[in-house]
Symmetry: C2
Subunit: 370 residues, 2 copies
């Protein structure tokens, strides 16, 4: 992506910041950090940060430590990189003091209680005290709408994932274990040159396919039963997420009906995803079709979710959280029917919201005409 994208994002963030009560924002969530700066390092674990951003009207800093500073300087030319020498709380306090912050916004959904307490105490005791102010979804909201470069990367990620899944599906035979299939997906994703997995693959066969988030087991897949493959990879930080349900040999009438219903619900929902439409509307369309077919109680989750630098992000396609869809949002469309103890079917595409019909990024194959 071009360097100027980050300059544009900074400008947009500054406009949004004016509408909050904070004069400066402290960004710690890794996806937000990457989105604004280009700094690509992840956090090794939640309790360890590879860096954070301090942004106000005049300046933009990336605070990191010596392990990451070379990469930070290279990747984030729009930011002044500060390499910490001492304790983070002291460095932060020193910086916000120097730039004359009065009220520092922080990401309330990501900062821990403990770090908040430490920092609040430290900032209160500065010569010119700084107040901490919780901020919600400021950068996440910007991330919901993808620009062309982002949808292009996500399109490539989806094409790559689709072709890996193609190869895996064409090699499926009765007797393969769920774990073995998952391992093959993992190996192929790493061989492909993607950044890596977006999440651990779900491979769930027979009765296990009735569990929407089943861990792969040693169960061997059999003929005529559903095998759900829910897979994703990451490319330049961006995720792809897709699901197919495969049968080795035509299943009985029950699962043919379930499959037809899920596919019909998905196709109908796709007709109602476009700029300006309420996000819960497509969910209600899919849900009605599934309910009318007699499976209403077996579709427990939402129709879909936003995807981007995080696998799950806003907007949700859910009965509970309605909002207006906008051009450039990327969402999954993934209805499912799960019969406890028997099995389930889920079908998932990743699409870009457009003026009219959505653009499907995942490769539209491995569907049955039962």
């Amino acid at each position: 992506m071009k360097r100027s994208i980050f300059g544009e994002r900074l400008a947009a963030l500054r406009l949004r910041l004016e509408k909050t009560s904070s004069d400066t924002i402290w960004v710690i969530q890794p996806e937000n950090r990457r989105y604004l700066s280009g700094f690509s390092a992840g956090d090794t674990q939640f309790t360890e940060s590879s860096g954070s951003l301090i942004i106000n009207k005049r300046c933009a800093y990336l605070i990191t430590d010596s392990r990451y500073s070379t990469a930070a300087v290279r990747e984030a030319p729009d930011f002044k990189v500060i390499t910490m020498k001492g304790h983070f709380v002291d460095e932060l306090a020193g910086l916000v003091g120097r730039i004359r912050t009065k009220r520092l916004g922080f990401e309330q959904g990501y900062l821990t209680y403990e770090l908040h307490k430490q920092i609040a105490g430290r900032l209160r005791n500065l010569k010119r005290p700084v107040r901490l102010s919780p901020v919600k979804g400021l950068v996440q909201e910007m991330r919901t709408i993808k620009d062309r470069a982002e949808t292009a990367v996500m399109g490539k990620a989806a094409a790559l994932m689709s072709s890996i899944l193609d190869n895996v599906i064409s090699g499926l035979k009765p007797g393969c274990t769920e774990k073995g299939i998952a391992r093959e997906i993992e190996v192929r994703v790493h061989e492909s040159g993607a950044d890596g997995l977006a999440f651990t693959p779900i491979v769930a066969s027979g009765p296990n396919s009735a569990l929407p988030h089943a861990e792969p087991t040693n169960r061997r897949i059999r003929e005529k039963e559903p095998v759900i493959l829910d897979v994703g990879l990451r490319m330049k930080g961006y995720c792809c997420d897709m699901t197919r349900t495969v049968f080795l040999g035509t299943p009985g009438p029950k699962f043919r009906k379930i499959y037809r219903t899920v596919r019909e619900a998905q196709l109908a929902a796709l007709q109602h995803i476009s700029d300006g439409i309420d996000s819960s509307y497509s969910d209600s369309i899919a849900r009605k079709i599934i309910r009318d077919a007699g499976f209403g109680e077996y579709f427990g989750h939402s129709l879909g979710h936003g995807v981007g630098l995080a696998v799950h992000e806003d907007p949700a396609l859910s009965p509970r959280r309605a909002r207006r869809l906008e051009k450039g949002m990327v969402v999954t469309v993934e209805p499912g029917i799960y019969l406890p103890g028997k099995g389930g079917v889920r079908l998932e595409e990743m699409v870009v919201v457009c003026e009219k019909l959505p653009k499907i990024l995942t490769k539209n194959n491995h569907y049955y005409d039962f």
Copy 2:
């Protein structure tokens, strides 16, 4: 691992809980949750939890949702599994009300500001109000000392990682790229049947090896320059972490001296890791050797860290955080010397603290006698 281990851990936690001001503890950190219950699901991302534990003198609950409840029941027989139907804050409030909690301890280093605020408000408004009380390191402290089953799993993880690294190192040739080598490690880890990577492999050659946390690049490795390989995998949740520095062809006198110094520092440090010794002592031993050789300013990080269900956990082998080492702790011993712009050497073993000398879990090979 046997089922009774979790029962024992629960009993030990209850004893520790008596010494806090809370009558009940709410455990949300995934590694702590797994350690106490056996429930192995990870969190898809930090902002999404697959479950949490509520434990007091009399009862032990695992709160999860329908995606995970089947696995939870199977994996955590010592816990009563509650499958959430509504909003988490309501479910939590209902449960702590029913079990007559007065003061609910929470993990202050993991709970977000936002969720804390929501829950505190909700619990305050109960008919019998419940107070939230921050707790620090209660379960992490238990996790520092590994039992036999844990060190056995970690020994297996280390043997597997060592043998994968063996194969990768024996295939190294001038012209291989860092990224290509990293990809091969990833593929072999996934093929091996391990749970997966413990972290993204570090492969850093030539000047890049001077950056302790370098991301693999397209740089091609050359003869006589250092190539740092810092790799880890996970098995049954437990991590292995190890580092070798490889040269294709004997390097010049400067890097031979650096290598000898790092190895000498490591071997000396290993002599001073045992039950009852201060954790910072081995760091000071290694640091003195490196300083005396004239490289004091080029060893910027700590000597090592604890490893277990998390890659980085307590205890640290660091000049700053001294504590008594105890039998059964698992730590890394990883001195390094990094010359900016030129290159670096790091050597890392993972060891179990014993009565006398530590037991080295990683396979002791690929060392040079320069």
